[in-house]
């Protein structure tokens, strides 16, 4: 072996060893933040996202999609969706339950998923779940037929307005009927609140994660916030209006965030139960999103 080859081999081995040592140190010394309040770093998020996309795509490639158009199937799927999905994923105009708001990764908006993912992938994800995301496998809870019913319903979900979703006829009335969102604002133990302070953009950026803003909006610089269920928030500071109806001032933004339905009834954006300080902080963060230098 020539001299330069030996040097190169040693160099590669040394780099691999130091890389492994660094990785082991990150893990052993607890440097990586596993809390649900600290988002993944952008590269880690991108890597996990690609792993998920590829894994689902490969594993769902051979699934045959049955007929999904029958109204009876869609109605059965609607019932199952309201019984098992809406609690974490929400629905048009309806917020997820408080426990789901704190999940990381955030449960996807299924309106967005249905607009982007093919039927076989939706079936596969529902049936098998996704490790370490909080998405459970429904395989042992629902039959395949029932899972296809849910998929059939999710197929029409993006074509329903919040009002149409709310008014869909249900097979049998249930106690947990939709309408006002229980738990979103009421019945929540109010955290001991400090005196209100002016909005803090950095705190707002953290709070974004906790109210699932990232599942519906594209937000520059926020990992995973690349969805178009609601409008992109890029350049929000430059916009003259909020939701097309309200002058874009920080205080109006605070009010909008706390109760979109009061400002624009029928909006697909639900009330997510923001505390006043969180709304101030998020409004302050949105003020930093400018395309104008």
């Amino acid at each position: 072996m020539s001299r330069w080859k030996r040097v190169a081999a040693w160099l590669v081995a040394a780099m691999a060893a130091s890389g492994a040592a660094l990785g082991a140190a990150v893990i052993y010394f607890g440097w990586y933040d596993v809390s649900a309040t600290g988002p993944h770093t952008v590269p880690v998020h991108a890597l996990l996202d690609v792993a998920l996309t590829r894994s689902v795509k490969v594993r769902s490639a051979d699934i045959d999609v049955p007929e999904l158009d029958s109204p009876a199937r869609i109605q059965r799927g609607d019932g199952l969706f309201r019984a098992h999905c809406v609690q974490c994923h929400g629905a048009p105009g309806q917020a997820p339950e408080p426990y789901a708001l704190g999940m990381n990764p955030a449960p996807a908006s299924l309106v967005g998923s249905a607009r982007e993912r093919p039927a076989a992938e939706m079936f596969w994800i529902t049936r098998h779940g996704i490790k370490m995301t909080g998405m459970p496998a429904w395989q042992y809870r629902l039959t395949d037929e029932q899972i296809w019913d849910v998929v059939a319903f999710m197929r029409v979900l993006p074509t329903l307005s919040p009002e149409q979703y709310r008014d869909l006829p249900q097979a049998e009335p249930r106690a947990s009927e939709v309408g006002a969102i229980p738990g979103a604002t009421e019945g929540r133990a109010e955290a001991p609140s400090e005196a209100p302070r002016v909005g803090d953009a950095m705190a707002g950026r953290d709070a974004l994660q906790q109210y699932l803003c990232v599942t519906c909006h594209a937000i520059p610089g926020v990992p995973g916030a690349r969805h178009h269920v609601g409008p992109s928030l890029a350049g929000m500071a430059d916009r003259s209006r909020i939701a097309g109806v309200l002058p874009n001032t920080p205080d109006n933004m605070r009010q909008w965030l706390m109760d979109p339905q009061q400002i624009k009834p029928g909006s697909a954006m639900p009330a997510l139960g923001l505390r006043e300080q969180d709304a101030r902080d998020i409004a302050a963060f949105l003020q930093t999103l400018s395309n104008v230098d």
Binding site: A46, L47, A119, M154, S232, L233, A234, S240, G244, V245
Partner: protein
């Protein structure tokens, strides 16, 4: 690592494309007469640029209304109406009829003109970054 993730992202975007679960959300669902090239011209003629930034249509930047580069991926119109091609045409023709409080005026588009504009907006490629 960033580079690796970026490469993987590009790789992941390739490969076989299956249709999304919800059908009929593309310009293909519009009547055949709808023409994206004419639609782009209507956007200039009707002064849409006074309020909106529109990719490929040049004019002074304005952010009174939202930029229109991602209309095809948007799930709702004005936050109220599911974004289907039919609804997009309805919205373009008479925004206040759908959202009485909207700042967007009825500029008097005909059905055919609105279909052309819808065809143009739905033909815009999705931008990978938030815009």
């Amino acid at each position: 690592m960033l580079l690796g993730a970026a490469t993987l992202t590009i790789l992941a975007a390739c490969g076989d494309e299956r249709a999304a679960l919800t059908p009929d959300l593309t310009a293909a669902a519009l009547p055949e007469r709808a023409d994206a090239v004419r639609g782009r011209q209507w956007i200039s003629d009707y002064g849409c640029l006074a309020c909106h930034a529109v990719p490929t249509v040049r004019g002074p930047a304005s952010s009174v209304g939202p930029p229109l580069g991602n209309v095809g991926r948007q799930a709702y119109l004005t936050g109220l109406l599911p974004n289907t091609p039919d609804n997009l045409v309805r919205w373009l023709m008479d925004p206040p009829a759908i959202n009485p409080r909207t700042s967007m005026p009825n500029v008097g588009l005909s059905q055919a003109e609105a279909e052309d504009i819808a065809a143009f907006l739905l033909s815009l490629p999705a931008s990978p970054e938030p815009s």
